[in-house]
């Protein structure tokens, strides 16, 4: 395993997700201690001291987000767990929801206590089936055990939790779109200001945190911020659940300690590239992060600082490894089709720009591209930069610009020769498939 483990630190069995097993691992003891010995502001202080960064993609310091919530201000606060894991390539929250739902629930209770939340929400991705059943069962167990819905003995803290299933829209994973969707409206993201921590769900102060971010809270409070900071690097403390897909031998979810060498992760933990091919490109954290070439990756360690320096970011931890021989033009076509399909259509640059870019790349792949199309794609991306309501337009633009900057020759080749330099290949056969053939 790549480094120390904070979340995947127990053996997954047929019953490891249940309340009984979770309690046997020491579950809900932290909650009881927090309720009896800590004040809400102490919890927030501890989280701030831990330096925990959000795991949803933007890496915003969790303590800073929480500190905006004013305690005892006479209005209700809300906590929303963002389980709408929709960033292509990302499936790490699913592991927590399936295997450690009680860890999430305990963390949400601790966070609710810290933020004086009476009603907490989980916004679950609509396509999730097992995670939904597991979390629903865990919520029922927790209600039966008296953690939710009634005051926990010896304290006056009561919290209720609502599991809300989305309908599969990508933008509902954006924090404000998620809240709008919970409110029963079309999942349109909202303009800032006001920030969600000032006016969020039902116009009340709201904290929206990713599943993995929240799941870390219990450990931080249990072992203390100091212990948490000892894992990882000073500027990127802790670990990241990385969901690796693409052309590696052993794709899956890995918990990676910040600072772990990237190529070691790919070559040793994941078993290297399929068929022994070279790493052509790497999408490090969901398709919204800028693509890296194999050469870029050689010296990288897995943490925020080095990835930022390399011109990309860790994003949501949805890593896609791309082997030599893959057509980057067709890959960008797949990505732009996704963004076109998922643009909510609220604001002009993204609504029109995504469709436009998709039509251009479709035309290039159909062999009807023109050289000026490359500049047009860059220009449309630029027009989306900072002009949209949410980050989706920017992200799609960054990714497109990244593809063109790193693999411009492939785009030019495709337009000139009306065909892919790599035969339009996206798939690399797995050894088992080779054996079948």
């Amino acid at each position: 395993m790549p480094g120390r483990q904070l979340l995947m630190n127990f053996p997954v069995t047929a019953t490891s997700h249940t309340l009984a097993d979770y309690r046997a691992r020491g579950g809900y003891a932290t909650l009881k201690r927090v309720l009896k010995t800590m004040k809400p502001e102490d919890v927030t202080k501890e989280v701030t001291a831990s330096g925990l960064l959000g795991h949803g993609g933007a890496a915003f310091p969790v303590g800073r987000k929480w500190a905006v919530i004013k305690l005892n201000d006479g209005q209700p606060h809300f906590l929303c767990c963002n389980a709408d894991e929709g960033e292509p390539g990302t499936f790490k929250d699913r592991w927590i929801l399936e295997n450690a739902p009680h860890l999430l629930l305990e963390s949400m209770l601790i966070a609710s206590y810290a933020l004086q939340v009476r009603n907490a929400f989980v916004y679950m991705r609509g396509e999730f089936d097992l995670p939904n059943r597991r979390l629903q069962a865990a919520i029922e167990e927790a209600y039966d055990a008296g953690y939710f819905g009634a005051s926990i003995p010896g304290t006056d803290f009561i919290c209720d939790i609502f599991l809300y299933r989305g309908a599969g829209s990508y933008v509902c994973g954006e924090a404000s779109g998620l809240l709008t969707s919970i409110e029963g409206k079309k999942g349109y993201p909202r303009n800032r200001p006001p920030r969600l921590t000032v006016r969020g769900l039902y116009q009340k102060p709201t904290v929206v945190n990713n599943v993995e971010t929240l799941a870390n809270i219990t450990g931080i409070i249990r072992d203390g911020a100091e212990a948490f900071r000892k894992v990882g690097l000073p500027k990127s403390p802790g670990t990241q659940l990385v969901s690796i897909s693409g052309h590696v031998v052993r794709p899956g979810v890995y918990e990676v300690e910040h600072g772990y060498p990237l190529m070691k992760l790919l070559n040793e933990d994941c078993g290297g590239m399929l068929g022994g091919r070279a790493l052509k490109a790497l999408i490090p954290g969901g398709i919204s992060t800028k693509v890296l070439t194999g050469a870029d990756c050689a010296e990288l360690t897995y943490d925020h600082a080095t990835f930022d320096k390399a011109g990309s970011s860790l994003g949501s931890g949805g890593m896609i490894a791309i082997a030599d021989g893959t057509c980057m033009v067709r890959l960008l076509q797949v990505m732009l089709r996704f963004w076109h399909h998922e643009s909510c259509g609220q604001c002009t640059p993204c609504r029109e720009g995504m469709g436009w870019m998709h039509r251009i790349i479709d035309r290039i792949v159909a062999g009807q591209g023109r050289m000026e199309d490359i500049e047009r794609l860059v220009a449309i991306s630029d027009a989306n930069d900072g002009t949209t309501i949410c980050g989706m337009g920017d992200a799609a633009g960054y990714a497109t610009v990244g593809f063109i900057a790193k693999f411009r020759d492939e785009f030019e080749y495709f337009i000139q020769h009306k065909r892919s330099r790599c035969g339009g290949v996206l798939e690399v056969a797995r050894p088992a498939e080779v054996a079948h053939a």
């Binding site: 076109h340 998922e342 259509g345 469709g355 027009a383 949209t388």
Partner: protein
């Protein structure tokens, strides 16, 4: 009051104002599609993007409609960066817009058209086919929607959510395939304010079926007027063909007809809205007109009828007058100063709610369906109509009074504008001009006075009420 800077000029803002509000109030224009002063901020068109200089010498950009004013903030509305962004956004908006201005009713008063000339002015840069969408989608019996022209500003959706309260419009699908659609329960069809969405549509997507392809707007003149539909007295513009664009080839009625009615903004009365009844003033004013004076149903010249009326008034012992609540303040005052002392006067309700009409709500519509009842009652009292014993003459001014209620044996002088069966039963019938043919004022239920101007000329055989009363009271000939 925070002070900030727009294009380096100091601007005062009210507390809580956005940059857009403060800039427009101070005379700095920022373009907008989705923003509307009377609706919530949606911030989706992005055309109002402005640049803000921060204290470190850098700049950032955001939309002015959602930007709270900060003390000392330095906003640029026409910097190079802003100009570039506006251009890009206009190109995006035009990307799937059909640009069929030549056949679009909105042409001439379209924000997109204006901004294109002002801020973009370039040929399209895309050669990919445009997204196709529904044309002539019937949103209701009154409104058709052209989804290709729609720029999804969501003003109409917010209008039904926030003003009319029917929540009857929404956006289906997403991305560049989003479509404005009405809810399936038909609530939009029964929304009495639905036609306002035609005015607030910044492009020609929402179209009035009444006005569809009827005229180019630049052939029309907007004359200020007042909706007589209820005691709210909404200020309206009546649009009719400009005299310089009169076409002999057209039916003469088309040269003198009401082409459309739009609200004239007056925050003290109706804000920027009117109800659908106000849109249909043609249904009131273009009913068949009574154009000839009559004596017991026999057409006569006007002076002859006035002489007959004068004689009836002079010989009456107990005359009663039923005063019109559709008369202007000036006409009421003229009646008061000339004839009122000869009569026992009662205010008559000319119009009552029609079957199916909304009687009252908390937006605009008021229960009294007469525009000037308040002023009439102020002059002539609010007593219900009662004929004293021995009433031998009744002067009925305006419509809405059934002659079956007349006291037995009384003579009748009837002043009316429209062709109605009662006209022929009156001893003397005098045809009157209507609101669109004269100028005057109405006092609404809150006491706010608004004025209306003439749109069309009146026929010589028809009398204006003011000189008519003067002629009846004296022996002067009618002017």
């Amino acid at each position: 009051m925070p002070e900030f800077f727009i294009n380096r000029q100091p601007v005062h803002a009210e507390p809580g104002q956005t940059v857009m509000q403060a800039a427009l109030a101070a005379g700095h224009y920022i373009p907008y599609f989705c923003w509307h002063p009377n609706l919530s901020v949606a911030g989706n068109c992005r055309i109002c993007i402005v640049e803000v200089e921060d204290s470190k010498g850098g700049t950032w950009m955001d939309i002015a409609c959602n930007m709270p004013v900060d003390e000392g903030m330095r906003v640029l509305t026409d910097s190079e960066g802003v100009t570039k962004r506006r251009k890009e956004i206009l190109q995006m908006i035009l990307l799937n817009h059909p640009v069929d201005c030549g056949i679009c009713d909105k042409a001439g008063e379209c924000s997109l058209q204006d901004y294109h000339y002002e801020y973009n002015g370039e040929r399209p840069v895309s050669f990919d086919p445009k997204v196709q969408a529904t044309k002539f989608h019937p949103l209701s019996e009154r409104i058709v929607l052209d989804n290709e022209r729609c720029i999804l500003c969501s003003r109409c959706v917010r209008f039904t959510n926030e003003v009319s309260g029917t929540h009857s419009l929404g956006i289906q699908h997403r991305g560049d395939h989003s479509l404005i659609r009405a809810s399936e329960d038909g609530a939009f069809g029964s929304d009495p304010y639905s036609d306002n969405v035609i005015d607030i549509c910044p492009v020609g997507a929402l179209l009035s079926r009444n006005f569809l392809y009827k005229s180019r707007v630049w052939y029309l003149k907007a004359t200020p007027s007042i909706c007589p539909g209820c005691e709210r007295g909404c200020n309206v513009d009546i649009w009719h063909r400009r005299s310089e664009w009169k076409l002999n080839a057209l039916d003469p009625r088309q040269n003198a007809s009401i082409d459309r009615v739009t609200p004239r903004e007056n925050p003290a009365v109706n804000g920027p809205w009117i109800c659908n009844k106000g849109r249909d003033l043609a249904a009131i004013f273009e009913r068949p007109r009574a154009e000839r004076a009559m004596l017991k149903g026999t057409p006569v010249e006007l002076p002859l009828a006035i002489d007959a009326a004068r004689a009836l008034i002079a010989s009456a012992r107990r005359p009663v007058a039923l005063v019109s609540s559709w008369a202007s303040n000036e006409e009421l005052a003229a009646f008061k100063s000339t004839l009122a002392n000869r009569f026992a006067c009662f205010v008559k309700s000319d119009w009552t709610p029609q079957p199916g009409e909304r009687v009252e709500d908390d937006v605009l519509i008021k229960p009294d369906k007469n525009p000037n009842a308040k002023a009439a009652r102020a002059l002539f009292g609010a007593a219900p109509i009662a004929f004293p014993d021995g009433t031998d003459l009744v002067l009925v001014w305006g419509e809405g009074f059934s002659f079956t209620q007349l006291p037995r044996g009384a003579s009748v002088i009837y002043l009316n504008s429209y062709l109605q069966p009662e006209n022929g039963h009156a001893d003397v019938f005098l045809p009157l001009s209507i609101q669109t043919e004269r100028r005057g004022r109405y006092t609404n239920f809150e006491g706010t006075v608004s004025n209306f101007e003439p749109c069309f000329g009146k026929k010589a055989t028809v009398a204006d009420a003011e000189p008519l009363f003067a002629a009846l009271a004296t022996h002067e000939a009618i002017a």
